[in-house]
Subunit: 396 residues, 4 copies
């Protein structure tokens, strides 16, 4: 791949120059007051981005997977029931983690390309009159399939069922790019990372805990040290960490939230929606279909594109890399070889998106897929021109 090209993997995303500089700090004493001046604004910024005023934030030098572990290990005990749907690679992995921790997972298998089966969840929750289910796992945006699920609906289902299970949400590839309302949706633990909507290098697991989730941690029996929110809370109270914090990344996170909030979260979401719509228009122009089954499931951060039967979709990724130095995402798990993915989250411009679309066209043409050169670009251009138009009208 070429370091000159933007990446179109669904994270880590392209890092804006200002954020690379924010992360690249000389060593500062992480036990000096200067650290508090980084940590607390970073936390406050993240809370605003995810609408989590009421939450406690815990940020670990780790990744989203560590965030999943944080959610589980701090709130649950061996044998606890967990409800989850397996609808993509990342929900699959989170379920696997629950199994390893000795949790009792009630797993719904859902076709990849579908979203959370909210109605089925509601039925199960209603039936669980003994309250065996302690937590419901929801993957807000399934990065493997490009499907966004209805977390708000899931909350309603929980309420409808009168069930008090904790609601865990994996927002790794949604938070900071698509609307996410921690407080409004009464999420109990939300998990994300630094390397997606926050546009930073990987290295931070960002978790938000509701009061109820924090309360659960008092009695939860799973072992935890590195991912202990208790130790973390004590550290924060002293402007510190229970161990060495990733100061540079936290400084980057502070700066990233400043950038996002300065742009305005509604504008950030609109930008993602516009870029994504352009990509989907291109897909349609190519005569292909997204993996996501229905428009309401379309993700604004990643599109998984189904290639024709009998064609190995991994060839798109390999050829894009070797022939044009461009990185797309391969299909994972059940859809490996059947889809390739265009990540379109983080700080992308229309021009960057078009370079990805144009390159995908060349790649598919090179590989003999019946794609008309320029067709996807033209379709996306129509979308992006409307965006420029809207900007112009807003300025007038």
């Amino acid at each position: 791949m070429s370091l000159q090209n933007p990446v179109f993997i669904p994270g880590p995303t392209n890092i804006p120059d200002a954020l690379r500089k924010a992360c690249d700090m000389p060593t500062v004493d992480h036990r000096s007051p200067i650290f508090g001046d980084i940590l607390h604004p970073a936390i406050a910024g993240v809370k605003k981005v995810m609408m989590a005023d009421a939450a406690e934030l815990f940020i670990f030098p780790s990744t989203g997977t560590g965030g999943w572990e944080t959610a589980i290990a701090n709130t649950l005990s061996p044998g606890d029931g967990v409800l989850a749907a397996r609808s993509g690679m990342f929900s699959h992995k989170w379920i696997d983690m629950c199994n390893r921790f000795g949790l009792n997972v009630q797993q719904l298998d859902v076709e990849w390309g579908e979203g959370l089966p909210v109605a089925a969840f509601e039925d199960i929750l209603k039936a669980d009159t003994e309250g065996r289910i302690k937590a419901v796992l929801a993957t807000h945006n399934e990065t493997a399939t490009g499907v966004v699920s209805d977390v708000e609906g899931l909350r309603k289902a929980l309420d409808q069922a009168g069930h008090d299970a904790l609601l865990f949400v994996d927002g790794v590839s949604s938070i900071a790019s698509m609307p996410f309302d921690f407080d409004g949706w009464k999420v109990d633990v939300a998990v994300t990372g630094s390397q997606k909507g926050f546009m930073l290098p990987p290295g931070l697991a960002i978790t938000a805990f509701s009061e109820k989730a924090v309360a659960a941690s008092k009695t939860a029996k799973l072992p935890r040290t590195f991912f202990s929110i208790d130790d973390m809370r004590k550290g924060y109270a002293a402007n510190a960490y229970p161990y060495t914090p990733a100061v540079g990344l936290l400084h980057g996170l502070k700066t990233a939230t400043e950038m996002l909030l300065a742009e305005g979260m509604d504008n950030v979401f609109a930008r993602h929606a516009r870029i994504a719509e352009g990509v989907r228009a291109a897909v349609k122009a190519w005569g292909l279909d997204p993996c996501a089954k229905r428009p309401e499931l379309y993700s604004n951060t990643v599109t998984a594109i189904k290639t024709p039967e009998g064609f190995d979709a991994n060839r798109v990724v390999a050829h894009a890399s070797s022939a044009y130095g461009m990185a797309f995402g391969a299909g994972l798990g059940d859809v490996a070889g059947k889809v390739f993915r265009i990540g379109h989250l983080g700080m992308l411009t229309d021009a960057m998106a078009l370079s990805g679309i144009a390159t995908a066209e060349m790649v598919m043409a090179d590989l003999g897929l019946p794609v008309t050169l320029g067709s996807g670009v033209a379709a996306a251009q129509l979308v992006y021109r409307r965006g420029a138009d809207a900007k112009r009208m807003a300025a007038e």
Copy 2:
């Protein structure tokens, strides 16, 4: 403009990450041996890039304009005759400089879009039996019009005329991007900058002097201090400068020549030719014409594109910047308002070039020009796919 997008001005060019890092040095003592270890390899690298084994190199903390002044002030005396063609903004400015220095300029006015009038030069040189003409100025690549001229032919004309005038070549937007043979073409002074083919920030005037040009400096009477090659030579002999050198930029230049030579100059030239051909294919698909009159004049570093009569080409540049955050070059001088320019020199990938072409299409469509969306992209894709193909075949 967006800092995320590549620039398509004809220099300064997009700076590869490795070169930004090479330039960004902590302060080093420019009188310590460490400086010699930067300076001399940088000079040696530049000599290889411009095929100037026999030359003396002088690198000033300045720009290409300072390089022009270096050429003139070190070799000429007030009243000396100079032969030059005015064929674009940069030849125009160099001529203006000669006039300010009290030189006696014989100026040929050439239509912008044409190259050096080699035959006319030859006639004039033949007629100058008294040797009043001390120097011939040649703009190898006229950045304003996207025209590359025949310097080799000019050398033959000089030889044919048996004239011993010095041959000065402005290679600012050609050197390191298009073939340049200092020794073979018997150039006497070549001038370039850091910010074009060398892919660095602006700040260096790079000049190469032939033995004959150095000899001329012994008797030249124009005043010079900052741009004195004599002072510079004495400095270099002591691993130093006559004043404070731009250490970081010189370190960048050393690294840039290493990158270029590792890629191989033939490959660098082929890459520029391929990218340029794609741009020109797009221009044709749009139904537009380049400013350069004939194919043999087409520059591989910049294309000036004529817009239809009555349309103000500057609107393209302004709208690209405001609506899409992308920088193209405006028309200058005689072609102001009549052309806009796409710079395609330095480290560009196919994908980057396509993002520029796609954006130009949107801009022109927005402004009501009869351009079919996707048409230029498709034309360029055909060219770039051949490049990928060639790469694949070479690898097999």
Copy 3:
């Protein structure tokens, strides 16, 4: 604190410019071959640095604390016996982690300032004829007290006792700065981080597993996902991670090992020894004592300095920060308020060390401690001049 001054905390250490640049990468596709070209050389380099040819390396996006958890969670089962000495803050914390994981810790309390009680360990191991002790924990360099322990001796004690417990070594503040012989000492799991001897920002837990430790992981029953070496091994085999790797830090690690190995580990150790000897000479000149009880316990990476009875040592750290913008380490745990610490690991020059010593002098004088200005500097200068002398003689 001032970002201009070097830090004298015992890690994170001052990051050389070349390593800051190595870490500051644009996003690369961590599933592309480029990642393998970073990962595998980084692993190979670390193996050389810690003399761990026979080991398997596992590097987590985490910190040293995560490394401790990796050691435990992958090799032990609930109820397993663990032998450990509490001789400082970091051994204290590792023991605490074992307790949280339901391990059965046999804890020896040792005065802070002492090293590992090798003889007592040997007695205990000999007495454990039933093999209840599954692992022995050793803190090679206790960062809280500036004490280096005899890991080689501990290995001999294990061998003498004919005990087959696993030997876990916390080398966080020793590896890459002081001799560490993973293979020779038959260490089973060694743990370190990126931010000490490797001179990088925090964010990596680096662990080395012996064949025996890897074998133990097959039957170990503690839960693990994020810190699973099994998942990690599978990832590495495919040039990948089980989740998103910290590509930039790994690139930094590759570069750091190149720097260390180019300098030569013996030279690296000698440099640390010289810098440390100068600091200790200063401490003596000030009429103060190190926390470490005896010369053979003196650490070459950090010196904890006892302040006079009745004086709050934390004032040194606070005043150094507020008055002179310099960061020293505070006393922790049992020695909080009784010592302050000068970290002298990573890439320090003599001049940098002298700036720390000179500042400590001013601070102590400001606070009324009976320290003669210039005295510690003069004592250290004698040491450092010998170093320069040795360098000169080696060059002749």
Copy 4:
């Protein structure tokens, strides 16, 4: 030398991290509005720093030497009289430049270590009743000798003599570090660079012109193109340059002036005075003398230190570099071999200064000079502790 150590050459100075980042920009279109947003605040900031409200600023991609040429070439004509004192290397070079430009220099030779001979100048000016002297050259701070001269007094002398010669001031190593009052002193052209008090890499010649100097440019006949203030003014009016500007350095300059003005120029000057006083206290403790003859001539940016008769002062510089990786300044011109120089301008902390002083002590001791280790450090510490004391009292 080591890139880890601060430099103690009298410029280029140590670049603060924030300024390295400000300079390290991706390419921006220098003809887009974004450039004006960099240029104009940079100019406004410099005006505040040098108290030059009434001046026109012209900033060239060049160095201080280019600034000298700008002053001369834009205001004078061949044969014009110039009055100057040769009191160090930099005044010597400026005079040489005047001679090359065919100016008629009336040169006063002054012992190196003395300042501007204000009284002698006044006498000469009074005697010049025909107004042959068109410009008086003043080196505000002679970097070679560490002597600051009385520019305000020189202005009074000019006024006293009723002479209307232009007053040119070389403030390269004084501006932004020592008080400089362009308007108050009625300076006509002031010259400085980016790499001294502005703490940036070299590459900018910064010049301020009074209304009178600008008026002189209308009739001045020396040739100029690269250094033409007329071309520059026209460029600025269009948010542009007559050629490619050094955008990154200008962005750095904008940021540097923000940093300086945020600290407050009085505080900046006081910091320089304190650091310098410490260095001079060390020199005295070593039993050595500064080159500057009298206390009122002592520069707060550089101290030239005389070594004993018969000792080659250059050995200090060479040994410091080879044995300790530290850069001091060598003696230049008339005092070559007789002095070495400690530069103490730009962003230095007390701790950094002490590292330079401590290293100088080791170097001199190594070379057999009768210097007591720690003596200079102790003397400087007394000074710096007072500074910390003052800071503490100000905070209370």
